[in-house]
């Protein structure tokens, strides 16, 4: 079945590789089953606290916009906790960018909902927002003076250069995973060109990909039925 799909998209489209099967974006049940069943109440509280602290760390070290938090997500959420995998992170990023609200908040809400339902979404959202709320409240009093301190400016400049390397690193790692066929390479390059050179907003690029993906899925279903 689906002869055309492996040709176009390798294994990512039709049959996910076995090691990822427990981590589907939508596979809520299995993730929940992984949590111990004894002391149900206590373990749920423990899980929510774990979600809160993990996202707190992500929020604390996200400087320079939504894409800069990718490496922290990979560390804290994928590598350390195993709550989602890298493919799911890309799916969530697409949704987080296209829906109203900041990418950081939306992706936290989304992942929290996958891990532990609505309470999980609330924990993740509060966790990712707490550091910036606390810092701004502290900074609010002497706001105007702080940006005139040269050391703060130098540190910021240095961190921005480091963030460029972090984002490039994340793009390469995620790209090696999801770009496996000529078609997927063309898709990635096309979106890069559209967003950097043609300056089309990334929301529109993602919406275009949704239309393309839907058409592709529909066509491959038809193909299957008629052949």
């Amino acid at each position: 079945m689906n002869e055309m799909i492996p040709f176009l998209f390798s294994q990512t489209a039709s049959d996910p590789p076995p090691e990822q099967s427990g981590q589907d974006i939508t596979d809520l049940r299995r993730i929940r089953e992984r949590q111990p069943n004894q002391q149900e109440g206590a373990s749920i509280v423990a899980l929510l606290w774990q979600i809160y602290t993990s996202f707190f760390r992500v929020g604390l070290f996200t400087i320079g916009g939504g894409y800069a938090m990718l490496p922290m997500f990979e560390r804290e959420i994928i590598k350390k906790r195993g709550w989602i995998d890298q493919d799911r992170l890309l799916d969530i990023y697409a949704a987080a960018q296209s829906l109203p609200g900041a990418i950081a908040l939306n992706s936290a809400t989304f992942i929290g909902n996958i891990v532990a339902g609505v309470p999980g979404a609330i924990s993740a959202l509060l966790g990712v927002a707490t550091p910036s709320i606390a810092i701004i409240i502290v900074v609010a009093e002497f706001l105007s003076r702080i940006i005139e301190v040269p050391i703060a400016m130098y540190a910021l400049k240095g961190m921005s250069a480091a963030v460029v390397a972090l984002i490039a690193d994340a793009a390469i790692r995620l790209g090696m995973r999801s770009i496996r066929t000529p078609i997927t390479l063309v898709l990635a390059l096309a979106s890069l060109v559209l967003v950097v050179f043609v300056r089309i907003s990334s929301v529109r690029v993602i919406l275009g990909a949704v239309v393309l993906g839907t058409a592709y899925s529909w066509l491959s279903t038809r193909f299957e039925q008629h052949v």
Partner: protein, 192 residues
């Protein structure tokens, strides 16, 4: 007043699509023209938002709320700005979770994934051009050492960070701290 502010931030949160910078004019219109914070504070706040963690709308909501009603106001306005997208994202993700067996979903995402990789690479290139270019930035900072329009200090920090990530599997926090320390040392020496 505070309730009004919370509602205004909820509206801003609802209308923000596609990243923080897109809604700066909207925010300015809503917040500055009501006299809640001054234009000067607003401009400073955007610079601050770039150097502090967290999304710019959260930073601005916290700051404006604090100015209006202290810590209570800060928390109220921040919850206000987060609430609409929280509801929408929770609904959307719950729908996806409920339809996990729909065979179309993995195929659609198979097309979206490489596109998102392209967007991430694009964001890296955009930020790279902005960071490595020697031209003065919005804060009036211009690179002390430059060749062919490239900020040499930033280029060195970028190279060191890339090397750390490539050779040592560096933790992102470690890379950020190294970047900050190098920034302070190198820009101080070269007299930025």
């Amino acid at each position: 007043m505070l309730i009004k502010a919370v509602l205004v931030f909820a509206k801003v949160g609802l209308l923000t699509i596609g990243g923080g910078l897109a809604m700066i004019p909207l925010l300015q219109d809503e917040i500055v023209s009501r006299g809640w914070i001054s234009l000067n504070e607003f401009t400073h706040m955007i610079s601050i938002a770039e150097m502090t963690p967290g999304p710019i709308i959260v930073n601005l909501a916290t700051f404006t709320g604090y100015k209006l009603a202290g810590v209570t106001g800060a928390i109220a306005c921040t919850l206000g700005v987060m609430f609409p997208s929280f509801v929408i994202v929770t609904l959307f993700s719950s729908i996806l979770i409920a339809h996990k067996d729909n065979p179309h979903i993995p195929r659609v995402f198979a097309v979206i994934r490489p596109v998102v990789v392209g967007l991430i690479a694009g964001a890296g290139i955009g930020l790279g051009i902005q960071t490595l270019s020697a031209a003065a930035d919005a804060g009036g900072f211009s690179a002390p050492l430059q060749i062919l329009g490239i900020d040499l200090v930033a280029a060195v920090i970028f190279a060191v960070s890339a090397l750390l990530l490539w050779r040592t599997d560096g933790h992102p926090v470690k890379v950020l701290i190294v970047g900050a320390v190098l920034g302070i040392i190198l820009f101080s020496i070269t007299g930025g």
